[in-house]
């Protein structure tokens, strides 16, 4: 029978053999604990807190009930979902089309277009938003000038309830497609060409080749693209902060912007945490849906 002493000895021996593995993980553990684990636990705990920040009073589901009964939260959710659907779908489709077009070109042109499409995503979102604040400006903006050239009525892009959110979608779409192109063309380059040769011998044409070979084989990358763009879009915040403040009439308010305002302007940290928990589950549900839809293993 084993006694405590031998168990301890054995444990110590295992540990001293393996201690370097843990040692090398140690520095990663500090930021991870402080700024992932603790905030995650705290978000859940605070969402049940009825007292102001720094004090504690068990509030049960009070914060969640307040959030659910807040009509602005549902407007924000609706806006965020619509924005995400349009931007993610738009980016994926545009990136797919551009990738297919690019792929028929030589290396030099391919490199040029990839760099051109990707350039807007390397600068800060703050920079992009400032540029677009000028382009959207009703009096001095390029967009209304272009409309005036073709004698179309001018648009108050960000000031109109109907055009504000679509304007922000256009801005995100114009900068977001580059990443998709880089990912998709990289995946297409990895498809063995003999697969196409074989299909050609079997009499498949261009359209068929795309849907029967290219599309299924780049599906893992499309899934990855969908997941990262969705997570990104669901947290849309900066354009609201800089351009619209969620207006006009809540037309552009997003969940992330509402969380920020609830926490840092109204100082309702409990409610902000409850909204964060909602945001987490919204994104989790969507991610699971994606994986159910297209998360099959692909091998070639």
């Amino acid at each position: 029978m084993l006694n405590t002493k031998t168990l301890l000895q054995r444990g110590w021996r295992t540990f001293s053999r393996e201690k370097w593995g843990y040692f090398f993980l140690l520095p990663s553990l500090v930021p991870f604990t402080l700024f992932f684990i603790i905030p995650l636990v705290k978000a859940v705990v605070l969402s049940f807190n009825a007292a102001p920040l720094g004090k504690w009073k068990w509030g049960g589901l009070a914060n969640y009930i307040a959030v659910v009964h807040d009509p602005v939260f549902w407007v924000a959710t609706k806006n965020t979902v619509i924005y995400t659907l349009v931007v993610v779908f738009g980016i994926t489709v545009v990136a797919l089309i551009l990738s297919v077009l690019i792929f028929s070109l030589g290396n030099v042109w391919q490199g040029f277009f990839k760099a051109a499409f990707y350039l807007p995503s390397i600068v800060s979102s703050v920079v992009i938003i400032l540029i677009w604040s000028w382009l959207f400006n009703p009096a001095f903006g390029l967009l209304n000038y272009l409309l005036s050239l073709v004698h179309l009525p001018l648009v108050v892009w960000l000031g109109d309830v109907h055009t504000a959110l679509p304007s922000l979608m256009v801005m995100s779409l114009s900068t977001g497609a580059g990443t998709g192109v880089i990912l998709i063309t990289a995946a297409m380059a990895g498809i063995p060409t003999d697969l196409y040769d074989a299909a050609r011998v079997d009499g498949a044409g261009g359209w068929n080749l795309f849907w029967k070979i290219t599309f299924p084989l780049i599906q893992p990358v499309l899934l990855y693209l969908l997941v990262i763009t969705t997570i990104d879009a669901f947290q849309i915040f900066t354009p609201m902060w800089m351009l619209t403040s969620g207006g006009p009439e809540h037309a552009t308010i997003s969940v992330a912007f509402l969380i920020y305002r609830t926490a840092f302007q109204s100082f309702k940290f409990g409610q902000a945490s409850a909204m964060s928990v909602f945001l987490f589950f919204f994104i989790l549900i969507v991610s699971i849906l994606y994986f159910r839809m297209m998360g099959r293993e692909v091998s070639y």
């Binding site: 393996e18 905030p39 545009v94 390397i122 992009i128 400032l130 400006n137 795309f210 992330a256 964060s276």
Partner: protein, 286 residues
């Protein structure tokens, strides 16, 4: 074997059904959509404020001036924000490279209990939307007394699952015999990491450095949240604040935007390969 009756088939040919003109036209249209805003920013920064809002606008400015940059530096703490941005981005990148390769080395070459479990748990945290943690991360900063300090800007980003994942992939490809040989020669565990693993990882570290530096340089929401005093702001936060103060001085705003964007554009032009490699890590085989 080559078939004399059919030219060798390549993927390229698969999509060459469309007339070349249409292909180029579509691609050029999207290239314009991507590039015109950036072009508009750069020439806007060189126009005088009145020329910038003239209708019809000048596509090629008749005279260029750097006056906007001068007034920008006089109107705002641009110098201080530049130093803050440079300091935070460089320190974070330097340490991030070390912590990532340490973690990558442990996950790739070290045997210990729970290695795979820890690895997958750590990696899966990348799927947690970070905005969910923003409010409570801020409360951690408050508890630590770090509001308006460099600690708040630097410490949270000193390590992360993306770097660990990338370095693990790379270090796995290094031959273990190398480390065994060094061990026999009496090299310490730390020495093996520092003198062998780290230098050999240079290609992957380049990709990671570009990735880390650019995401720190461009970072906005976190510095906005943990700094309230303008002398602790980074460039994007300072830049966003100009927009609230200045009334439609677009050429000044564009000077600030160009100034903030320029380092990234230069890095991109000179290290494009590293940038593009960074995006496909974790998504594409090979």
């Amino acid at each position: 074997m080559a078939n004399p009756y059919r030219p060798a088939f390549s993927l390229r040919k698969q999509f060459s059904r469309l007339p070349k003109v249409v292909v180029y036209l579509l691609l050029f249209v999207w290239a314009l959509i991507s590039l015109v805003p950036i072009y508009w920013m750069v020439i806007g920064s060189l126009k005088t404020p009145s020329l910038a809002i003239a209708i019809p606008p000048e596509w090629i400015p008749s005279k260029a001036t750097f006056a906007n940059f001068r007034s920008l530096f006089m109107a705002a703490k641009m110098g201080r924000w530049t130093i803050n941005s440079l300091l935070v981005s460089s320190v974070v990148t330097g340490i991030y490279l070390i912590t990532s390769s340490m973690a990558g080395y442990a996950f790739a070459k070290k045997q210990f209990h729970g290695r795979n479990l820890i690895f997958w748990l750590y990696i899966s945290t990348m799927l947690v939307p970070w905005f969910v943690l923003l409010v409570t991360s801020y409360t951690v900063i408050v508890d630590l007394g770090w509001v308006n300090t460099y600690w708040a800007l630097i410490v949270p980003d000193l390590a992360g699952p993306f770097g660990a994942f990338m370095m693990r992939q790379f270090i796995q490809s290094l031959p273990s015999e190398l480390f065994d040989a060094a061990r026999i020669d009496g090299c310490s565990e730390w020495g093996i990491f520092w003198r062998i693993v780290f230098p050999l990882s240079a290609p992957a570290l380049g990709v990671l450095a570009v990735f880390s530096f650019s995401s720190e340089w461009n970072s906005f929401i976190w510095p906005l949240t943990v700094t309230t005093r303008d002398k602790m702001w980074t460039l994007p936060v300072g830049l966003a604040s100009l927009q609230h103060v200045k009334v439609t001085n677009f050429s000044l705003l564009m000077a600030g935007a160009t100034y903030t964007a320029l380092p990234m554009i230069l890095i991109f032009l000179f290290a494009q390969k590293y940038f593009l490699k960074g995006i496909t890590v974790g998504a594409v085989k090979g």
